[in-house]
């Protein structure tokens, strides 16, 4: 048995370690098989450096046509699974063709890497960054090892951040005015606002504020849009009367938001909307959707 297993096993172990692996922040990501693993976190323009160590199995040698490490930024559409579109690809040759008899380490470094897009795991698309080590062999295929890492890019608070204020209604039925204090929110932000009832002729049962994510993939005729409701937050219980104003205070931190992504490499966009929904006693829904921009604020700690 051991023999058989050994036949299919790669003849060596490849491990990738980051230079600052101990101190670097680790974040969880979900792998394809559903497991969550912790991976290091980077941002654009950072140096990505570390060591690759290749250790042949006991008493074996690895013959190769060269060892290289690639840093890839890939976009994968789920309708086209397995087919990656690399928007970033950097290569470092680590070794000339030869044989490895014992454990051998290669340092590597990609300095000030341009990684404009953030790691993203959506419904129909994902964007990932990966380090790929390839031991090329003439026969039996190459030995490949991947190491995922996450990229998050931070934006400073926008200089212009207007509130969203709007009066909407159905004639002679319902008139409301609502206000959200900003149009751009960071991920741990709080939405503050209020809804002012100017006219209420319908029996409202409750009012919710929803955060919706709209992910559109593809382009042109192949555009595919997927909308998810990430948060459903009850703002009001019962029927208000004219003149009532209902406060809004919605903390964004409990929800798994990402920054807004607009036209990532012509492949996909991710946008966020606040959807104000009023439900009447006959369960009819009246709603008004407003786009908000979500950005990632540099973490202070």
């Amino acid at each position: 048995m051991n023999y058989l297993i050994g036949a299919f096993k790669p003849s060596c172990n490849i491990s990738i370690t980051f230079a600052d692996g101990k101190s670097r922040k680790q974040v969880p990501i979900k792998k394809e098989n559903g497991q969550t693993v912790m991976v290091p976190l980077f941002q654009s323009q950072e140096n990505i450096s570390g060591k690759i160590s290749i250790e042949p199995l006991q008493g074996k040698k690895v013959e190769h046509n060269g060892v290289k490490i690639e840093l890839l930024g890939q976009i994968e559409m789920y309708f086209d699974r397995g087919n990656f579109y690399d928007f970033t690809s950097l290569v470092r040759e680590l070794d000339v063709p030869g044989e490895i008899y014992e454990r051998k380490t290669f340092p590597f470094e990609f300095s000030t890497v341009e990684m404009p897009y953030e790691t993203y795991n959506g419904v129909n698309v994902r964007l990932r960054y990966v380090l790929k080590v390839t031991i090329s062999r003439g026969y039996g295929g190459s030995i490949v090892e991947y190491q995922d890492f996450v990229v998050r890019n931070y934006t400073p608070p926008p200089e212009i951040n207007n509130s969203i204020k709007m009066e909407v209604g159905i004639e002679d039925c319902l008139h409301i005015e609502f206000e959200y204090n900003k149009s751009k929110y960071h991920l741990k932000d709080v939405i503050i606002g209020k809804i002012y009832f100017l006219l209420v002729r319908i029996k409202i049962k409750n009012m919710d504020l929803e955060i919706r994510r709209r992910e559109s993939t593809g382009s042109g005729a192949n555009t595919h849009v997927e909308t998810e409701t990430l948060a459903k937050f009850e703002l009001m219980d019962g029927a208000p009367v004219r003149g009532e104003s209902i406060p809004i205070r919605l903390f964004l931190s409990p929800y798994e938001l990402t920054p807004t992504h607009r036209n990532i490499n012509n492949k996909f966009s991710v946008k966020y909307y606040l959807n104000l929904v009023l439900v009447d006693e006959e369960d009819r829904r009246y709603f008004k959707q407003q786009e908000i921009t979500v950005y990632r604020l540099p973490e202070t700690s």
Partner: protein, 767 residues
Amino acid sequence: MISNIAEDEDKWLAEGIAGIQHNAFYMHRSLDSNNLREALKYSAQMLSELRTSRLSPHKYYELYMRAFDELRKLEIFFKDESKHGCSIIDLYELVQHAGNILPRLYLLCTVGSVYIKSKEAPAKDVLKDLVEMCRGVQHPIRGLFLRSYLSQVSRDKLPDIGSDYEGDADTVMDAVEFVLQNFTEMNKLWVRMQHQGPGRAKEKQEKERSELRDLVGKNLHVLSQIEGIDLEMYKDTVLPRVLEQVVNCKDELAQYYLMDCIIQVFPDEYHLQTLETLLGACPQLQPTVDIKTVLSQLMERLSNYAASSAEVLPDFLQVEAFAKLSSAIGKVIEAQVDMPVVGAITLYVSLLTFTLRVHPDRLDYVDQVLGACVKKLCGKPKLEDSKATKQIVALLSAPLEKYNDIVTALTLSNYPRVMDHLDNGTNKIMAMVIIQSIMKNSTCISTADKVEALFELIKGLIKDLDGFPVDELDEEDFKDEQNSVARLIHMFYNDDPEEMLKIICTVKKHIMTGGSRRLPFTVPPLIFSALRLVRRLQGQEGDVVGEEEPATPKKIFQLLNQAANDCDLEPVAYEFFTQAFILYEEEIADSKAQVTAIHLIIGTLQRMNVFGVENRDTLTHKATGYSAKLLKKPDQCRAVYACSHLFWVDDQDGIKDGERVMLCLKRALRIANAAQQMATVARGSSGPVTLFVEILNKYIYFFEKGNSQVTSSAIQGLIELITSEMQSESTTPDPSSDAFFASTMRYIQFQKQKGGAMGEKYDSIKA
């Protein structure tokens, strides 16, 4: 159907309680294992049970109380940071992540109270945030309970003066602001309840709303307990704000309850100083609000306050409490057109009570109140509404009770005018009340004017009133009433006999109108009263001087006898005549007085019809005897011919004894003759023929009345006698008696010419 609903409700409640218990169990487990996240999760689930719309307020309260108890445990957990390892500020944010608003806000309030206690943020900021966030619950019942929870957890954490949570400046104001806002919102929700659920019966809704009113009222209670609210602040902020809400909510139930609450929870002293503001709100309330009860309560409280210590009385004067209350009541009555009369009167009763207690010395106020009441009542038919009449009775009784003295009431000009508006039955009851008051206090009514006024008040007892069916009277009641009147008569007394006589006359005047059913009750006391006066007069014999005095007893007897006559009391009447004669013999010495007295006796006796033949004979005989014994002849003559009437009562079944009439007349003639002779002897000239002419007139009277003993020849003889007397030389011509005779003759002539039966009768007389 209804029982089905009730059953369903019980089922739903049981489900709700089960849900709470279930989640509370897991919550406890998480609390024990210091698992904050789980604790929050289960507590939110537990609180979700309160989101039900299916329970009535009563059942919902039961559910709420269960959750409330569990939240206490959660609060203790929140307090102990070492257990959950989360700073209170983070915790305050954390609970706001809950997706459903109701659990979220309950948790927020719970954490908020811990937050205030930790003093990591100023109490006012937390409170402000909480009360603001609670706006999210607009469902009336859920909102009310949520806000009541907020009120409950915050009441010991208000930034009041001297409390642990006192802030820097205007700290009390923050506390007040918080409570006021919560109050306002709760009231709005409460008022809105009536618009919920169209299928529900209004009555049921009202009931449900009443069940919740204390939740709203509690806020006022909290306000009243804030130490820092001084009069100034109450006047400038608290009261106006509360009233604004009360007035603006335009809801009958709420307005009534809240006004009552305001009056009950805040100190009297404040009410007194803000009377104008408070009263100013009253006319602005909905017309259907039961303001009378509210105002009554207020006045009741104020009068109790006034009664509590004499030191506060100057304040009442200073703020012109009476004037303000009075005008407010006027305005309220004006504003509430539909207010039933009973309401208005109740208000006046309260005002009166207030006045009597606060300003017992101001009779003019009392009269003013009564006057206002009259104004309200005038132009309306007599009251039929039993409640209204009851109130009027209360209104009228109040001064009596207060002053213990009807005499005071009698000076109130509006008093009888109010009484006039009572229906007859109630009028009697009121009259009874008055009498009882007099009895109880042994009030002495000492002038005829007062007696007059009093009888005006109790006239319902004294006589049959118009349009009142007599046969409906309850015999028992009637007896009671009349006995009371009888007792009342004994209460009239004056030391001055003159005045006492006037009193008795007044009483007589009134009770004589009572009819035969009443007299047996009312006359005896009058008689006894009169007798008492007589005895008193006897007692002071020597002092009696002047001409009028001796006549007094006579007059009394006259009226007594008439009274006795009217009530068919023969023995009594006889006794009085006997008394009268005794009095006449023993007391009346002056001849002129005797003349007056004997004429009175004769006049009275003539009109008596109760006596049997024997008694009558005795009395007439006596009267005639006394007549003939008068000092002067002319007086004798006149008395005797007057006595003739005693035998001829021109009534259907009156006595008609022609013979004895004639005897009297002849006797008078004899006396006249004697007088004539005496005059001739004394002065050389005979006296006037006046006496003869007078007797002639009596003859003619009886002749016309058909007395067969009086014949035309007797008249003829008398005429001739007079003519000859007049022509005799010794006679001094007297123009007045000549004229008298001439007109008598003219009368005879006239009768003759008139013809008919009477003319024939006169035919034989030659003039």
